[in-house]
């Protein structure tokens, strides 16, 4: 019997196939775009902020989609304990918001300190990015718990 070629097997890995691969491409591409755009401003706001928003969204979606089996187990348990859809959503929103805020906190702190401890438009944009991070982290979870397959997971 002819042995399958290892080369075709390995080379097959070079082709991005998953939705999460697309997200990785988007994040890296956006980081590159950010590096390029930081030199431009529109109406006093650096275009780099635009790409910050655009990179927070796929990064949080990617984090939420990763380890989905474990997250599904957690969601199944929370419902079994009497939790509601909005509680599960809120839990994931907070996680995404916290992750984004931790990542952005050095820049947010710097912004607040350099403006004499006041909140300016740049600080608000950074906070908005963290809120969007929460929303996009909770999105896949909400989709999962509302799907027809969710209740099927309680069956062995």
């Amino acid at each position: 019997m002819e042995k399958p070629s290892w080369a075709s097997f390995v080379m097959g890995g070079a082709v991005p196939r998953e939705f999460t691969d697309l997200l990785v491409i988007a994040i890296i591409g956006l980081a590159g775009l950010q590096a390029y755009l930081t030199r431009f401003t529109v109406g006093g706001v650096e275009l780099g902020f635009l790409t910050l928003f655009l990179s927070v969204l796929p990064a949080c979606t990617l984090a939420s989609l990763s380890n989905a089996t474990r997250k599904l187990r957690e969601e199944l348990a929370l419902f079994a304990y009497g939790g509601s859809t909005w509680q599960v959503w809120a839990k994931h929103f907070l996680r995404g918001f916290t992750c984004s805020l931790i990542a952005l906190s050095p820049f947010l702190s710097l912004e607040i300190i350099t403006t004499g401890y006041s909140i300016n438009s740049r600080s608000l944009l950074l906070l908005l990015a963290a809120v969007l991070g929460g929303a996009f982290y909770s999105g896949p979870s909400l989709r999962r718990v509302r799907s027809a397959e969710f209740a099927e997971s309680y069956k062995a």
């Binding site: 079994a80 304990y81 009497g82 969710f150 209740a151 309680y154």
Partner: protein, 230 residues
Amino acid sequence: MTYLIETTSVKMEYPHSDGVIQLYDEGVSLRVDPGDFVAVLGGSGWGKSTLVNIILGLEKPTSGTVHFSGEDVTRASFVKRCSLVKTGAVFQRPTAVPQLTVGQNLNLALSMAGIPKSERDERIRESIAFFGLERITRAYPESLSAGQRKRIDLARALAIKPQLLVLDEPTGDLDTSASNLVMPLLRGLNKDHGTTILMVTALPRYASSAHQLLHLKPPGFITPSKRIDR
């Protein structure tokens, strides 16, 4: 005295590549009164777990109604149903938050059921002792056997002292000695504490404890033009 649960002509259909699978051909009509012990008996794939999901509000029936304490909850969530009848649920697949230890899982379940903090420790201690989980209280669910996780589910469901306990194959994943402990426990809960029990099982010997027995029939299969057999 009002009933806890009443289902009327509940039917369920699932799309299939060649047509539609229909569960509960004649519709499930069931009334569960306070203090009842009801067993639903049926083979694999006959819709036992689906019926549990329908009763708990996790799946919506294609037709028919579900009432909890006189209120139509056919389209309502599990949370809404729990507010009408305090319900503990044990599913076929063990369910616990993987990031929390056994003790923390029980604490979370009690907290979500609205049990005051002052009562939680005592209830957790009781439940853990009852199911012999003392040695694994600090363990994480994923490091435990399926049988141990099943016992955690039972401990968690009972710790809230529910009016109604819904169990999907409560002895599944348990070895014979553990299974032999569970059925007398359920009988005791029902007889001594008045806990209403609704249990689905494939094993007739476990259904023999029940006051009321519902036999499910094998599912039918409907094609778009004609109905074939069962």
